[in-house]
């Protein structure tokens, strides 16, 4: 049996994301549905016009966390393939910053998995966004990833 992540794609890129290529990659004969999430740069933040964004990442850890999300997706949901790509560097308004495509035999699992994937990415993957405005720049408010509070810490039984 092939490991479930083998046909998946997890990448950080500095060039525009080719969304249709990723959606095509996950699509296979045994599937019946693909759900995609396309996250792109909005032209305002807290009612201030945004000029552009810059993303940076702790790249080795970000990729490891993206693969962890993938492994969890395959465990939790009856899905087939995952493509998860985040762009770094300078992004203009309207450009895709993150794209996720998930295929499955049946749509419900693909919808649920895609929602879980983007929500978990935003909470746990070490990527940071800086927003540039006419009159300056700010690091976007983010979420503090859940981290162990003391070591060692036993995992609660589920």
């Amino acid at each position: 049996m092939t490991p479930p992540l083998q046909d998946d794609i997890y990448e950080l890129v500095r060039q525009p994301i080719d969304a249709s290529a990723l959606a095509g990659h996950v699509r296979a004969a045994e599937d019946g549905a693909t759900v995609t999430f396309d996250g792109y740069v909005r032209n305002e933040s807290h009612n201030r016009p945004t000029l552009y964004l810059e993303y940076e990442a702790y790249e080795s850890m970000a990729l490891a966390k993206m693969r962890e999300i993938g492994a969890e997706l395959h465990k939790k949901y009856r899905i087939h393939r995952v493509a998860m790509v985040h762009r770094l560097g300078h992004l203009e308004i309207g450009e895709t910053s993150v794209f996720i495509a998930i295929s499955a035999p049946h749509r419900a699992a693909a919808f649920d998995a895609c929602r879980f994937a983007i929500d978990t990415l935003k909470r746990t993957v070490p990527i940071w966004k800086k927003e540039f405005f006419e009159d300056g720049a700010v690091w976007a408010d983010g979420e503090l990833p859940p981290a162990p509070t003391a070591t060692p810490r036993a995992k609660p039984a589920s």
Binding site: S60, M61, P126, P145, P148
Partner: protein
């Protein structure tokens, strides 16, 4: 927290192990990188120092850093880690502000 002082070698010194230090790689991201002025550093710390002590050493040099303590998480070797995690030679520690990808 910096380099341990050289051992006082002299006529009467016997060969005893000096207090061990370990070298760790330290990474800063986002606003922390801007505050420190660099994204990557290497530091010698005494063996069994914790991530918390490492942070305190940097906060000593960059007092503004201290106010971010409660809004950071730390990682050791690409895994989120508790502040009381002891450090070993070659560890890669990072201080991570709230993440905002997506």
């Amino acid at each position: 927290m910096l380099l341990a002082p050289p051992s006082h070698a002299g006529y009467n010194s016997v060969v005893t192990p000096v207090s061990q230090t370990v070298r760790v790689k330290v990474l800063f991201f986002g606003r922390l990188k801007e505050l420190i002025g660099r994204g990557e550093d290497a530091l010698e710390v005494s063996e069994a120092s914790t991530i918390e002590q490492l942070f305190t050493a940097y906060a000593g040099r960059h007092p503004e850093l201290g106010k971010f303590r409660s809004s950071l998480v730390a990682s050791r070797n690409q895994e989120f880690a508790a502040w009381d995690t002891p450090l070993h030679s070659g560890d890669e520690v990072a201080f991570l502000p709230p993440v905002s990808g997506g």
